[in-house]
Structure formats: structure tokens, C-alpha cells
């Protein structure tokens, strides 16, 4: 397998990295996290270590006094400070900027949960674009157990990333630094809610790993079913489990170096790939999504008197049976505008003029804003391929 050489390289370098104490932490983006006061922090972990007798597992009843008068407050006051290592502090902070997401799914092996990374000023959550997001409001559960509703601000089908908007989350976000490119052999940590292990105010799971390779997924085309075919960070740790997608890959300074990708399996070898999207790709994608939004906002979103209609274009979509029926093309009339432009039945329409098509209804709404005489661009998913098509009337 192609990735083997980097494994060996990674080993050598990682031995050095792994053995040493942490380099001094440049606590850039994470410093701000200290200001976050959890409304109801996972405080059980804070209050433990209070009772000096707890060190001896055979003496763990000291909290109970005569006549059952329990002074738990006293326990909290006599906290023995834990000597936290830099890594505990680092992960403890980074965990606060990773959220648990819940949405559609739950049947046929499709998870209804995944992970998300809070970015920027805390009002945006970056995650993978997946069927989990096929809902009106995505449920966000923060590190301190708060439940927020997020709406989808935009998606980038090429990178399979989506941005969610959560106003007033009170969360502090990672900075997206396109220069922070992972290097082979670099120590990284994945923070994800894999298997949905964490719930409520429980922190997401942390895993250690090493960057094994920076490799384009295109080389695996055919073997792996993925829309995204750019460069990825390949890690040696089993990050890409169910629910982990959209989680954070951070470096030893606590900075974001990647977004954990979707589960991906080499159909021929049966091997699961553990990878993340690198920061330059992520940053570009986020910029695209945000500008697409801007375009959309700037563009005339008013319905025009003579818009495009599906029937006039010569196509029909699959029946609108669920609240968010995906915009799958059911059939194309021969010699129609749609047919001439190259659309085919079973194409899934993802974007129209960079605006996200979240459903059949969404497509009709967008088409109603485009003049019948104007051409427009669509992005469709055909099998595992993304195809850009210009529809010219």
C-alpha cells in the first residue's frame, strides 16, 4: 500500500516527539478559552481529589460524618490542587471548542450524530457535510452540556464541509490558520465525539496520534468513495470512527491543524483510512462558503416575474415526500434544456450559482429567483463525482 513508507518515517520522528516533555506551549488561540466560565461545568471532575483519604481506595468513606451530617461543602473547600500537566491543560481547553452535533439519521447504519469545531468568534461551527445535517435545526451540545440550535449557514460540497451558525454560543473558537500545515511525524491529537460516547456535559474524546502522510485522496480514486479528492493529513490513530467526522485535529500548541474527515474505507483492501482535511483546504473552503453566502445575500433573492421552471427546463425531481427531500433528478426530457446542458437522471443537485440546495423545495425557490433568459451554474453529484454544469437556456 502506498502509505507504508510514511509510516516508517513517522515512527522515527515520533519517537523523538513522543518521548519528550511538551515544548513550551504557545497558547495562542486557546488562551481565550480561559475566559469562558461554564454555566454548569462538568464539575464532578473538578471536585474530585478533594478528600485526601481518597488516595487510598480502602478508605473512601471519610466524607460521611457522625449522624450522617455530611459536609460536602467542606470537601470542596479543602481541594487538593491537582498538578496538571501541560497536555491535560491543553486538551482540557481544546475540548471546550469541540461540540457534539445531533441531527437526522439513526437507521441503516447511518449515525445521527457527529462532531463539530467552533471557529472564529464562536458563532460558527465547522463540521462535515453529511446526512446528519438534513434537518431544519442541528442540535448542538456544548462541552458544558448546553443545548443550542444551529442552522446551516452554508456547505462546500467539494470539501464536504458545512458551516453552522449558532448565535451567542458563548464558545470560543479555533483560529483558522492556513499556514498551520501539518508535517509528517508531527504529534497531533484528535478531539471528536466518536461513537457518540460523550453526552450532555461530558467532554469529547481525545486520542493521540502522529501525522503519517500528506497525501491526495485522488490516488485512491475508485477504491474510496469520496467526493473530496484533495490533499489530506493521514494519521496513525483510529480517528475516523462513527461520529468522529467534523472533529478537531490539533497540534501540541493547541492550534487547529485539521478537520477529521468522514469514514472512508478502501473497498479493495478493506482498510479504513484515518485522515483529516488540512488547514489551507479548510480555510479556503470556509472562505468559499462565507463568500457564497455573501453572494447569495447580495444577489436578488426576490422572485422574478419570469423564472426558470423545472418543467420548462425539461426535468422532474423525485417526489417531495419528506420535509427535506433531496433534489434528485428523476428524469430528463429528451432534447430539453436540461438534457442539452448535460444533466442526467439520478444527479443530485447540490449548488445553484453557489447557493446551497438543501431540498427539492429549496431548488424551486432558488430557480424562482433566476430569470428565464439567464444561464446558471449547478453542481451535481453523480455517483461519487462532483460535476459542474452550466445550464444555458
Amino acid at each position: 500500500m502506498k502509505l507504508c513508507v510514511p509510516i516508517f518515517l513517522a515512527v522515527t520522528i515520533a519517537v523523538v516527539l513522543a518521548n519528550g516533555p511538551l515544548p513550551s506551549l504557545a497558547r495562542g488561540p486557546l488562551d481565550a478559552c480561559e475566559k469562558v466560565e461554564p454555566t454548569s461545568a462538568p464539575s464532578d471532575s473538578d471536585s474530585i481529589g478533594a478528600d485526601p483519604l481518597r488516595g487510598d481506595p480502602l478508605h473512601n468513606n471519610a466524607a460521611i460524618k457522625v449522624d450522617g451530617a455530611l459536609d460536602t461543602a467542606a470537601i470542596a473547600d479543602t481541594k487538593v490542587p491537582l498538578e496538571e500537566t501541560d497536555l491535560e491543560v491543553l486538551l482540557g481547553r481544546a475540548e471546550r471548542s469541540v461540540v457534539k452535533l445531533y441531527g437526522a439519521g439513526g437507521a441503516r447504519g447511518l449515525e445521527s450524530y457527529q462532531s463539530g469545531v467552533v471557529i472564529g468568534d464562536g458563532s460558527l461551527i465547522l463540521t462535515s457535510w453529511s446526512t446528519v445535517l438534513d434537518v431544519d435545526k442541528v442540535r448542538v451540545v456544548t462541552f458544558d452540556g448546553r443545548r443550542l440550535d444551529a442552522e446551516i449557514a452554508g456547505v462546500d460540497p467539494q470539501c464536504e464541509l458545512a458551516l453552522l451558525r449558532v448565535p451567542n454560543s458563548g464558545l470560543l473558537g479555533f483560529e483558522l490558520d492556513p499556514q498551520n500545515i501539518a508535517k509528517i511525524g508531527q504529534r497531533v491529537f484528535a478531539i471528536t465525539n466518536l461513537f457518540g460516547i460523550a453526552a450532555g456535559n461530558e467532554a469529547c474524546s481525545s486520542q493521540k496520534g502522529v501525522v503519517m502522510a500528506m497525501s491526495p485522496l485522488t490516488t485512491r480514486k475508485g477504491a474510496m468513495k469520496t467526493l473530496y479528492q484533495g490533499r489530506v493529513i493521514v494519521v496513525d490513530v483510529m480517528t475516523n470512527n462513527p461520529g468522529a467526522t467534523g472533529g478537531a485535529l490539533i497540534d501540541l500548541s493547541g492550534r487547529l491543524v485539521g478537520i477529521v474527515g468522514k469514514e472512508l474505507r478502501d473497498e479493495q483492501a478493506g482498510i479504513w483510512l484515518n485522515y483529516a482535511l488540512p488547514m489551507d483546504v479548510v480555510k479556503n473552503s470556509v472562505d468559499r462558503i462565507l463568500s457564497g453566502q455573501a453572494n447569495m445575500a447580495a444577489a436578488n433573492t426576490q422572485a422574478v416575474p419570469q423564472p426558470h421552471r423545472l418543467n420548462d427546463l425539461g426535468m422532474a425531481l423525485i417526489p417531495d415526500v419528506i420535509p427535506k427531500t433531496p433534489a434528485f433528478i428523476d428524469w430528463i426530457r429528451e432534447d430539453s434544456i436540461a438534457a442539452r446542458s448535460g444533466l442526467k437522471s439520478n444527479d443530485l443537485i447540490l449548488l445553484v450559482n453557489d447557493s446551497r440546495v438543501d431540498s427539492r423545495k429549496g431548488l424551486e425557490r432558488i430557480l424562482s429567483t433566476i430569470n428565464r433568459g439567464d444561464s446558471f451554474a449547478v453542481l451535481v453529484q453523480r455517483g461519487q463525482e462532483l460535476i459542474k454544469i452550466q445550464v444555458r437556456p
Partner: protein, 628 residues
């Protein structure tokens, strides 16, 4: 890649060939200089020092790591030795397929014969005992409550039964999560308050130790999340906290089939993290302590409760009958109390679980998908005690085979069946220990005499006199004498929370010392339990005295009775009699200060000023005789 480090360590320990075929077997790196980042020619001294410490921690830890095999050497799981005389902690799902007999391998290259002591099907723990040495290497017990995400840790054990050379495989990793709650399979194998790690934990690691970076034992590995990738590690393993394991350890040494606890109430959580009582049994101790429907649960043990999982986490680490501190809020007050946990299962339910797990056709843990790599998703599976290839072998072993083994078994006298016990032999061992402690400090002759204790109520001038004989018990508070039969008729007094219960306790004390627990009634060693107001755990013996159950708490080092609880049933408060000062008097231990409480409320404290023996007949003649 960390496993590569471990391989290095293993080699430098020169403890035999490194494990082969592990999940990350790695060739010596072929460095192509052009492709790697510039690296310092020599590792920093801190790096080398850290490596040295890690190697030493692993070397020591590996000595106490146990490979658990069947008597024919088939199958295999892991364990960890925690006492020099050979008590080993492992998983219930590791020990159960082997029945009561197994063999344990240590990294000294020797196999030791072992038998099962106690089992805990709900908590997935078992204690087995190795024989053949009194200086087994032991793991240092760590503090699992101090485990934090971001700490390094390592697991040791017998994954994929690689330890055929008896050298444990060590896998290094990160603490990924703490205080995780993993739902039970049915009602058993519940992992509460467990530690999540990405150290590779694979089938065969089950029952083995998880150590912190210093080599202290912090957990017992037992479970993984697998889902669709087959039964190999995918970066998620769970360990039972060592705190939970040690809470249950002495209970497990009692050779019993243990149960887990329930609070006697259920809760509902709202989005703001408010946990309120949604249902409560009126027969529960929590109800008797004043908890009602709708009250808000604030703390249990010493931990804040904000979710149902947190409540389950705390409940799961304690054996039933233990008392746990509870803080709750009702409409008007915040109340601190302690509640006695109650049993989760009925005895018959436990019996069926054990029957299903270990007898006849030994079957895999529940919901075990065997070795289908693409099995339907089941997020959490107990890692099997032995690997897929071991299953075929194990199936051949039927009950008949086991019987035969028992007949020729050198350890046959270390195994006794009895209902409710996984191995009654160990209950006798512990009771012998308790009796031995008692005898070493007490020479109470068999006597026909009456024992008279006279004293005063603390803080008052009221006199108290207690007379106990083999036929009747006298209790006089001031000028109000009461007399009760020495053997029966105690129940109404206890249920009415009478002060006369003091006399019952003195009678129990007397009998304990005169004839010993076994002659009093059916005596069962329970384990070690906490006492309200005292630090530490106390040996706990339950004796059936006719219609009353006496639970006697004795100090582990001296055998001195610290407390006697008298239960009439599980629905009402027992009488609790605490012996707060005890004096040695002519080879006898005599209580000097006795306190009677019901449901945490002290009713009477007596300072004993006189302890005498009088001819029983003289006493009896002046009194109305009850019964007989």
C-alpha cells in the same frame, strides 16, 4: 506508532521475544533523509529520562500482570495480581467461561494454578486466587479519581492470546475520557464511571490492568467500542476504575456472587442540568431519609450531579448495602444525609445470569458478534475473554469434562459450591480470619453467668443497666426495666425503634466472643464496608439470629467490633449500635461507650462504668421469665 515504543521497551527488558503479530508491528525505519524534517542528532536529556522512567514503570508493572488461561491452557484473558498471596483482579466475562478453575501465567515464566473466588456479573469483575507462592509480585494501587484526559497510560495483558511465552504485551496510550458511562448488556456488564483510553485494548486484554504513567494500577480493562470494524481495537477501550474494583475487592474475596446497587429512586433531567426524583420506592432508605418525588439531587458521594449518567456513574461503583452521602433540595431546604444502597437484582436473577454465563454450554458474552468483520453495529461490546480462534476449543469443553477435572484437581479442596456463592471455600477462609482475630484478643469462657453492664446516659445522670444471659435479656433505663427473651421476640422492639435494642447488641457481642459467629446462626462474610462517621472500611459479617439479621462490623487489623446493625427486614431502619470506645479487661474486650442510632439519628449514648459477671440463676429468680 506508540506500540513501536513499547516494542523497544520490551526488547530492552530482555524478557523474551517481543510480541509478534500485534496491531502495529513495525519494521526498523528506513530513513530517507530528504523526506524527514531536520531532527536533533541526540534526543534531549529529558527525553531519555522520560523514556527511562517509562521503561522502569513498565518493567515493574509487567511483573504483576497475569495471563489467565483455562486448565488446558486454552482460551485466555488477562488479570492483575494485587496481593502477595495471589489474589488477582480480572473480568467476570474472562473467568466465567472457565468455570471455577483456571491457570495463571506470570512473566517469571511460570504457570500457577488458580480458582475463582468471587464474581460480580453486573460490574464485570471477578477475583481469582493463584496458589503456590506467598510473595507474588503485586501492582501498586493508584488513584483512579485523579485520572485526567491528557495523561499517558499503558495497558498490559494478553491480547489475541499472544502471551504464550507468558510475557505480557504492553500498549501505550492517552486517557481519552474519564467518568464514562457505558450501558449494560441487558442488566449485566454495566461499565459505570469508567476510564476511556486509546491505548490498544484488544480481545484478550480483558481483565488486565491499565496503569498510569507511573505504573500505578488505575483500572481493569474490559470493554471496547468496535462497531463495524471487527473485533479489533479502533482507538476506544474502557477500563473499570480501580476505585470501583477496590470497593468490591473484599466483597469478591468473600466468594459470593455479588450484586450491584440501586438507589431506590429514579430521576429525570431537564436541559439546565437539574436532576429531580421522578419515582421513588417508599420502602427505600432514601425515602426514609426524607427524599420525595420532585426533590432535586445535588450530590451523591462527593460528586455533583447534573445528569442521569453522573448519577448512574456514582451508583455503579458501590456495592449494595453501602451507605453513600446524598445532598438533595426540597421545596424548603437543602438536606445532607446518607442513604443505604439496595440490591439491583433478586438472588434468583443473579443465579440465572451466572448459570447462563458459566455452566453447560459456555457461551460468549452477550451480544457477542463473534468474528464477523462486518457485523451489525453494536457500539460497545465486552471484549471477549478469549479470541475467536479459542472459541472452538472452548465449546468442546462441556460440563462432564469440568467434573472430571474437578476429581483429579489438586485444588479440589479449594472449591466448594453453595447457593449464592461462586466459591464458598473463600467465605470460610475469611470467616476463619475474622474468628482468628477475635480469638487472638479475647478469652471469653463459656459461661452460665449473666453479664451485667452498668453505666450512665452521656450528659445525663440517668442510669442504664443491661443484663444478658442465655435465656433472657434485661434492659433498664432509669427505673424502667424491660425484659426480653434472649433468642426471639426482638423484631417488634427493633421495628418500634426501642432503646432495648442496646441489650440485643450486647447479647450479640457476648455471643460473638463466647461462641463465635458460626455458632450463633448462619454466618456469612460479606466483605468490607464503610461506617458512618468512621474512616476506612470494616470487615462485615452477616449472621442470621432467628428472625433478625445481625450485621457485625469489625476492625480489619484487630477484629474489634465497631458496630452491630440489627435488621428485621429490608423495609425498615435497622438498629445501629456503635461501640465507640472499647477496653481490654482481663483478656476480654468490653465496650466502654455505646451509641444506639436508628436511621442516622442517635437515640442513646451510654458510658459503661461497670462490667460484671453474676451467677445467672440469682438474676433469673428475681425476674419474670419470658418464654420457655
Amino acid at each position: 506508532m506508540f506500540s513501536s515504543l513499547v516494542l523497544e521497551c520490551t526488547r530492552s527488558q530482555a524478557i523474551g521475544q517481543p510480541p509478534v503479530g500485534g496491531p502495529a508491528q513495525i519494521q526498523p525505519p528506513q530513513i530517507q533523509p530528504a523526506q524527514i524534517q531536520p531532527a536533533p542528532p541526540e534526543p534531549a536529556p529529558e527525553v531519555l529520562e522520560a523514556q527511562k522512567q517509562r521503561i522502569e514503570a513498565m518493567r515493574v508493572a509487567a511483573q504483576a500482570t497475569v495471563g489467565v488461561f483455562g486448565v488446558d491452557g486454552q482460551g485466555g484473558g488477562s488479570g492483575v495480581c494485587i496481593t502477595p498471596d495471589g489474589y488477582v483482579l480480572t473480568n467476570f466475562h474472562v473467568s466465567s467461561p472457565f468455570g471455577h478453575r483456571m491457570r495463571c501465567g506470570l512473566n517469571d515464566g511460570k504457570m500457577y494454578e488458580a480458582v475463582v473466588a468471587g464474581i460480580d456479573p453486573t460490574g464485570d469483575l471477578a477475583v481469582i486466587k493463584m496458589f503456590g507462592r506467598d510473595d507474588f509480585p503485586v501492582a501498586k494501587i493508584g488513584d483512579s479519581d485523579r485520572v485526567r484526559v491528557g495523561q499517558w497510560c499503558f495497558a498490559a495483558g494478553n491480547p489475541f492470546v499472544l502471551a504464550t511465552n507468558l510475557q505480557p504485551t504492553v500498549t501505550y496510550g492517552l486517557i481519552s475520557g474519564v467518568r464514562r458511562y457505558q450501558y449494560p448488556a441487558g442488566t449485566i456488564l454495566e461499565y459505570s464511571d469508567c476510564i476511556q483510553t486509546d491505548a490498544a485494548i484488544n480481545p484478550g486484554n480483558s481483565g488486565g490492568p491499565l496503569f498510569n504513567a507511573q505504573g500505578e494500577l488505575i483500572g481493569i480493562n474490559g470493554r471496547c467500542s468496535f462497531e463495524k470494524r471487527g473485533r479489533v481495537n479502533v482507538g476506544v477501550g474502557y477500563a473499570i476504575s480501580i476505585r470501583q474494583a477496590m470497593n468490591f475487592f473484599w466483597h469478591l474475596r468473600s466468594g459470593r456472587v455479588l450484586d450491584h446497587a440501586t438507589l431506590g429512586f429514579t430521576v429525570a433531567t431537564d436541559t439546565k442540568g437539574k436532576v429531580t426524583v421522578s419515582n421513588i420506592l417508599e420502602s427505600s432508605d432514601a425515602y426514609r431519609r426524607g427524599l420525595r418525588y420532585g426533590d432535586e439531587i445535588l450530590r451523591l458521594d462527593d460528586r455533583q450531579i447534573g445528569t442521569t449518567n453522573q448519577l448512574k456513574n456514582v451508583t455503579g461503583i458501590f456495592p449494595p448495602q453501602w451507605r453513600v452521602a446524598l445532598r438533595f433540595r426540597n421545596e424548603t431546604d437543602t438536606i445532607d444525609t446518607a442513604i443505604r444502597l439496595q440490591n439491583l437484582h433478586l438472588p434468583i436473577e443473579l443465579e440465572e445470569i451466572v448459570k447462563g454465563e458459566s455452566s453447560e454450554e459456555p457461551k460468549a458474552p452477550p451480544k457477542s458478534p463473534q468474528e464477523e468483520p462486518e457485523e451489525k453495529s453494536d457500539a460497545e461490546e465486552p471484549a471477549p475473554g478469549d479470541p475467536p480462534q479459542g472459541k472452538g476449543l472452548r465449546k468442546k469443553e462441556g460440563p462432564a469434562r469440568k467434573e472430571k477435572d474437578t476429581l483429579k484437581d489438586a485444588l479440589a479442596d479449594r472449591y466448594e459450591t453453595k447457593r449464592g456463592f461462586s466459591n464458598y471455600y473463600f467465605n470460610r477462609v475469611e470467616l476463619d480470619r475474622i474468628v482468628g482475630l477475635q480469638k487472638s484478643r479475647n478469652q471469653w469462657p463459656k459461661s452460665e453467668e449473666a453479664w451485667v453492664l452498668a453505666g450512665t446516659v452521656v450528659g445525663e445522670t440517668t442510669n442504664v443497666q443491661i443484663r444478658v444471659t442465655d435465656s433472657s435479656l434485661g434492659f433498664a433505663l432509669g427505673d424502667k426495666p424491660e425484659s426480653v427473651d434472649a433468642k426471639r421476640g426482638w423484631t417488634p422492639w427493633i421495628q418500634q425503634q426501642s432503646l432495648v435494642s442496646l441489650a440485643f447488641a450486647i447479647r450479640t457481642w457476648q455471643q460473638w466472643h463466647q461462641s463465635g459467629p458460626r455458632m450463633m446462626g448462619e454466618a456469612i462474610y460479606v466483605g468490607r464496608s464503610p461506617l458512618v462517621g468512621r474512616a476506612g472500611l470494616f470487615d462485615t459479617t452477616r449472621i442470621t439470629l432467628g428472625e433478625v439479621d445481625a450485621v457485625v462490623y469489625t476492625a480489619p487489623e484487630t477484629g474489634t467490633i465497631e458496630c452491630i446493625e440489627l435488621f428485621t427486614d429490608n423495609q425498615s431502619d435497622p438498629a445501629e449500635i456503635y461501640f465507640e470506645k472499647v477496653q481490654q479487661n482481663n483478656g476480654k474486650e468490653i465496650p466502654e461507650r455505646i451509641r444506639l442510632a436508628y436511621g442516622l439519628e442517635t437515640r442513646l449514648v451510654v458510658d459503661v462504668v461497670r462490667s460484671e459477671w453474676e451467677p445467672a440463676a440469682v438474676i433469673e429468680s428475681g425476674k419474670e421469665k419470658g418464654g420457655d
